[in-house]
Amino acid sequence: MSSSRGGNGCGGEGERQIHVLAVDDSSVDRAMIARILRSSKYRVTTVDSGKKALELLGLEPDVNMIITDYWMPEMTGYELLKRVKESSELREIPVVIMSSENVPNRINRCLAEGAEDFLLKPVRPSDVSRLCSRIR
């Protein structure tokens, strides 16, 4: 219960700290992804819906990466991805999709729409490390 499993510090520090917006309607998964990202030194904001994500992004996007669940009520991660990529202010922000289902069509559709990566849930620290080199 005491071992330190700090990530690889990929998130940076101080002013250069990378800010990730994590979107998931599951409270359990929000807690997990936030912890995993923070252990790699990312700064994390969590929201429980695509709608809230867009609201936050509309306010002051100092967000450097978005990581979102695919299956959410009202607005799916795919729909959120599309809205981000359609927006001139937001389209440069890398978007990573998470899903508990390994559906090749879904994965391809997301990647084709501009997703940076697709992670299978449950997400592990090693999955996040893999993102490190792409998000800079």
Binding site: R5, D25, V28, D29, M32, R35, S100, P125
Partner: protein, 151 residues
């Protein structure tokens, strides 16, 4: 109880939980994310799982009790329960959810009701096991010892 026997009991109990399939490696992942700066991480996430699951189980009862069952809704709830149980490593609960989704797809009310009963059973079982585990950890710490790390 003396520290040594508490720790031994903890080891035996945990080993059995994994051996009997109540927990899988994902629970170990949770434990590995806990450290001095996040000393209650496992408890926090598992508590969220308990709250979430009990809400979902109630919703499932309600939805399956309707005259005309909305299987899409049932499936959505089971999908959520499957996801959160997978996230904390509650393997048996997750496995019943998988069977449950098949019955949803077939619109098989009887099958669904059976699965609901089963998933409820598995959920309360794992809940009680985890509560015992947390209690043991607390007792060990109170006795001035450290919780054995089994990974």
């Amino acid at each position: 109880m003396e520290l040594g026997s508490l720790q031994r009991r903890y080891i035996d109990f945990t080993t059995a939980l994994f051996r009997e399939g109540f927990l899988d490696n994902q629970y170990t992942q949770l434990q590995q994310l806990q450290d001095e700066s996040n000393p209650e991480f496992v408890l926090e996430v598992v508590t969220l799982f308990f709250e979430d699951s009990e809400k979902l189980l109630d919703e499932l009862s309600r939805t399956l009790d309707q005259q005309v069952v909305d299987y899409k809704k049932v499936d959505a709830h089971v999908h959520q329960l499957k996801g959160s149980s997978a996230s904390i490593g509650a393997q048996r609960v997750k496995n019943v959810c998988m069977a449950f989704r098949n019955f949803c797809e077939e619109r098989n009310q009887e099958g669904c009701l059976r699965c609901l009963q089963q998933v409820r059973q598995e959920y309360f079982l794992v809940k009680s096991k985890l509560e015992t585990l947390f209690r043991l950890e607390k007792q060990i710490l109170a006795a001035g010892g450290s919780v054995p790390v089994l990974w």
